[in-house]
């Protein structure tokens, strides 16, 4: 396995040494002096200043990995007019006009973040980016224009390149190409059907996406804002959501994104990324992030290759059968897909009550309470089940099963949150302004739309969450490497600061030490890491094995002026493991705070009642630890209850559920007992894994 799979801080230092030479080389190129440290712990792959805020022990950066703009067709049809630059400006704190627009183009609504983001990634659906021929568009200034293929194509047509501004010339040229004038078979013999073999392509939308990411990436020492070039691969076979966001490390990216048009199964996407990025472009690096496994019908984490869900019969042609998962396929997946969105606008995917979990906190923001059939107006679709592997916790457990079988864990996933906004509003996550803004342009711009019983876009939708990355500085390389090593956590939208470390030999008073982080980091691994028996002290002959301890620290969201954060209720640790019979198990432990602190919220005013904790820190030992059993541990931090957005909206609308006759029909979900009145905002850290075989 690669270094990123290796364990402990020792290997991290080793990796740091291995990259020191490259990093030093990059430092020579940068315009300002290097940080206090003697080298960077990550590889600098681009030209930029070092960050003044460099911190070897890492800073928390709050951001968004999943935002759509008007470049996405499902955003534009709902009136969204943004471009990526508008989304990035919004993430940096500038106001943004939202639809409906009046006839003169003035927005009906304006959104603004109370607190800007540190980073954002625009991920528009690549399937409708469109393409242009490089060969016929000299103004694109792409090197392909002078390539042999383009020369051949133009030669085959036997005409000069048309003047770019001359429509008649261009038309004649294409008329020739498509056989209006020349014998079509002549073209076909040289260039294939439709000239396909002679064609070199570019996507203008993809180029614009890159250029606008550059416009907003701060390469100065201020490191105030980071963008990444990304897109969404949008596979929805038979309504099973298998979508992935594709995130590139730096500005070196393939000429064309691989969309669902080119790759209909995710293995083809990964293969294309390996070929077009990792193999062909020096310095290119990439990762993918799946989302909404909750509506994948259980297919997102199926332990198979080339999965195409069962189609509802009759449909043609029948999909080819999936293949058994091999160690090679699992390794490809593990290398390219280190993270998953655990929550977003279209629901939470952590776990679901009764689906291999009996954790009472699994009911949070579930779409499952309503039948997904309601979203599909075509009667031929049968009832759609929520398979166990629709949920991330079950996928993490399945990963242990596959690791036992294959030696590789295909589902070793770090956890983040996102919005999946289709308004171009990354980080618009507040419950108290979601009611005015929504995420779907005009489609959820009114109370009536927002309160429909439909699972998606209606009352079951939510504002979504944030991704938090622990990185040495706010630069693409530092953030990307942190995402790759999974030192990230997700929140449901608030901004608590959470650290989570695991190790053998932590002292029980770690939280009292003045250099907690230094100790925890040195003697263990941070969230996303892997522990092995080599990290533990060798037990005395016949003596008990050392048990791992986990240090969890959570600081409440400090809030913003006029909008204080909500105090914490407790920290939990979720353990999943593979028992001696090869069955997966899970257990949830309260490790800090108080689940019975009595805090609540006045539903009529949404005022919080009772107190909670500003700061929680705990060292927890897994007393039931068995050194022979695979396991993972992640921390979940719960805030005190607050009003759900729908409760705020129903209050605003003055819906009186005690008088059912007075409730307008479009607001009946206000009085539907299955729609929760309160939520507990939360954070989920990436897990720490224990692997007995090192």
């Amino acid at each position: 396995m690669s270094e990123r799979e290796a364990t402990g801080t020792r290997s991290r230092r080793h990796a740091a040494r291995a990259t020191l030479a490259l990093a030093s080389l990059a430092l020579v190129l940068t315009a300002q002096s290097c940080p206090e440290e003697t080298g960077l712990p990550f590889e600098r792959t681009e030209l930029r200043d070092d960050c003044e805020e460099f911190n070897r022990l890492r800073n928390p950066y709050f951001g968004e990995t999943h935002a759509h703009t008007g470049y996405s067709f499902d955003a534009i049809v709902n009136g969204t007019r943004t471009e990526p630059r508008d989304a990035y400006a919004f993430a940096r704190g500038e106001p943004l006009g939202l639809p409906p627009f009046d006839a003169a183009g003035n927005p009906g609504r304006v959104a603004e973040l109370r607190r800007p983001l540190d980073f954002a990634i625009v991920t528009d659906h690549a399937e409708t980016f469109g393409e242009v021929d490089i060969c016929t568009n000299p103004e694109l200034q792409l090197p392909g224009f002078d390539s042999d293929e383009c020369e051949r194509m133009r030669g085959a047509i036997g005409t000069a390149v048309p003047n770019a501004g001359d429509a008649t010339g261009a038309t004649a040229f294409f008329g020739l190409l498509y056989g209006f004038i020349l014998d079509p078979q002549h073209i076909e013999s040289i260039c294939g059907v439709d000239g396909e073999d002679c064609r070199q392509r570019a996507s203008l939308v993809w180029r614009a996406t890159q250029a606008q990411a550059e416009e907003f990436y701060d390469r100065s020492a201020a490191c105030s804002f980071t963008t990444f070039v990304g897109y969404e691969w949008t596979a929805t076979p038979y309504v099973a959501n298998l979508h992935r966001n594709v995130i590139f490390r730096n500005a070196r990216v393939p000429d064309l994104p691989t969309s669902y048009v080119e790759a209909t199964v995710v293995e083809d996407l990964w293969q294309a990324l390996e070929q077009d990025c990792l193999a062909e472009i020096e310095g290119c690096d990439v990762l993918t992030i799946p989302h909404n496994s909750n509506v994948s019908l259980g297919w997102m984490f199926a332990p198979e290759s080339r999965v195409l869900p069962d189609p509802p019969a009759p449909i043609f042609p029948p999909p080819p059968p999936s293949l058994p998962l091999t160690a090679e396929a699992a390794a490809q997946r593990a290398a390219l897909e280190p993270l998953v969105e655990i929550t977003q606008h279209k629901g939470d995917s952590e776990c679901a009550p009764g689906i291999l979990s009996n954790d009472e906190q699994c009911g949070y923001e579930k779409l499952s309470r309503l039948d997904l059939r309601n979203t599909i107006p075509v009667s031929r679709f049968p009832s759609l089940p929520f398979g166990p592997l629709a949920f991330v916790r079950n996928a993490l457990k399945e990963g242990l099963v596959q690791e036992e079988r294959l030696g590789v864990n295909p589902f070793q996933l770090g956890l983040i949150g996102s919005t999946d906004t289709h308004n171009g509003t990354p980080g618009a996550v507040r419950e108290d302004d979601y009611t005015g803004l929504g995420h779907l342009g005009t489609a959820d711009a009114t109370p009536a739309f927002q309160l429909t019983p439909l699972p998606i876009g209606g009352v079951e939708a939510n504002p979504g969450g944030l991704a938090v990355v622990w990185a040495e500085e706010n630069s693409r390389d530092a953030l990307f490497e942190a995402m790759r090593r999974r030192e990230v956590y997700g929140t449901s939208g608030t901004r608590p600061i959470v650290r989570f470390f695991g190790g053998f030999g932590y002292s029980s008073d770690l939280c009292q030490l003045p250099d907690f982080v230094e100790h925890a980091d040195r003697d263990g691994v941070p969230m996303g890491g892997v522990l092995t028996p080599a990290d533990a002290a060798v037990p005395e002959p016949g003596g008990p094995a050392e048990k791992p301890r986990f240090a969890a620290l959570a600081l409440m969201d400090p809030g913003a002026p006029g909008a204080p954060g909500t105090p914490l209720q407790r920290i939990q640790i979720v353990k999943g493991w593979l028992d001696a019979n090869g069955d997966t198990q899970e257990q949830v432990f309260d490790v800090a705070g108080n689940p019975l602190n009595g805090a609540n919220v006045d539903l009529a005013t949404c005022e919080p009642q009772g107190s909670g904790f500003e700061l929680l820190c705990s060292v927890w030992e897994d007393a039931a630890f068995d050194p022979d059993q695979r396991a993972f541990y992640y921390a979940r931090v719960l805030e005190n209850p607050t009003c759900r957005w729908s409760t705020r909206l129903c209050n605003e609308l003055q819906v009186d559920c005690s008088d059912p006759a007075s409730v307008p029909s479009e607001y009946t979900t206000c009085c539907d007992g299955s729609v929760p009145k309160t939520i507990q905002e939360r954070a989920w850290t990436s897990p720490i894994w224990y692997r007995p075989d090192g």
């Binding site: 540190d118 409708t128 038309t171 250029a211 201020a222 107006p377 904790f613």
Partner: protein, 328 residues
Amino acid sequence: MGSPPRTHRWLRAPALHFLLIGAVLYAFDPAARIGWGEEREPVVIAADRIEGALREIEGQTGRAATPGEVSFLIDRLIDEELLLREARARGLDRGDRSIRFRLAENVRFLGVAEDDDPAALERLALELGLDRSDPVVRRILMEKMRLLTMTAPPEEAPSEAELRSFFERTAETYRQPARVTLQHVFFAAGTRRGSLAEDAAQALAQLESADAPPPAQAWRLGDPFPPGYRVRLASRRSLETRFGTDFAEAALAAEPGRWTGPVRSAYGLHLVQVEEQRPSHLPAFESVRSTLKARLEAERGKARLQQALRELRVRYDVRVEHPAWRAG
């Protein structure tokens, strides 16, 4: 259309990304049927097209558009139609995989295809006129034409002098934030409760007295703060993220070297000693060169687009069937 309300609502749902049946809505829009190779035909913005767009806008905004606003709308419809027409004239609708894919999906969804051969699906889509009517295909074409128009030829890339002058014009945008390095002593609101303010005041008095502990031991006067007692070169944003706004303000205003406070954070009270202050300043040109280039090109792209649209209006005979429009 006569669709039941629930289906209408569903159209707005994002889940079925590839099953959008918007094509059906637009299939009979006469303005959508502007033909390939007919680029010398006049660009007609039909009265019912304008009325349809107005009805949609007025339905969303809940008020009638003023005549001035209607002119804006007509301008936008003309621009869109010109971009579309020019895109087709340049053949941007041919051989595009996104468009082919979209058309095939539409035909599949309509359930009128007899087999699933991509070529057959595309043929059928063209017979049904979906390439002219589908709103997504139209949007792809408009966007391609718009972005193509905004692309500058190589000889017009910004020169060094132009970049420097652009920097001078926009330098404040790139101002580097002030930073402080500080250490602090923490008093936990949760554990001290009633004695919080008094405890912090006493510790401050001790820090200012002759028997103050050495700086590295100052934290011992307060409570454990596991994130640490020293913050290095933090900006306002970074302090706000970690401690809240009040703390950030106080830390940035504190006089270096002296203990100040108590300063309130979300977690309790702090005594703060600033070790180093770095004032806000403008960056070197080289530090923001690539940003400047990207932004200047974007600015010029917008101007190129406006110019191109003006030229297209001259090249095509634009006819607007609406009383609010006065040609020229």
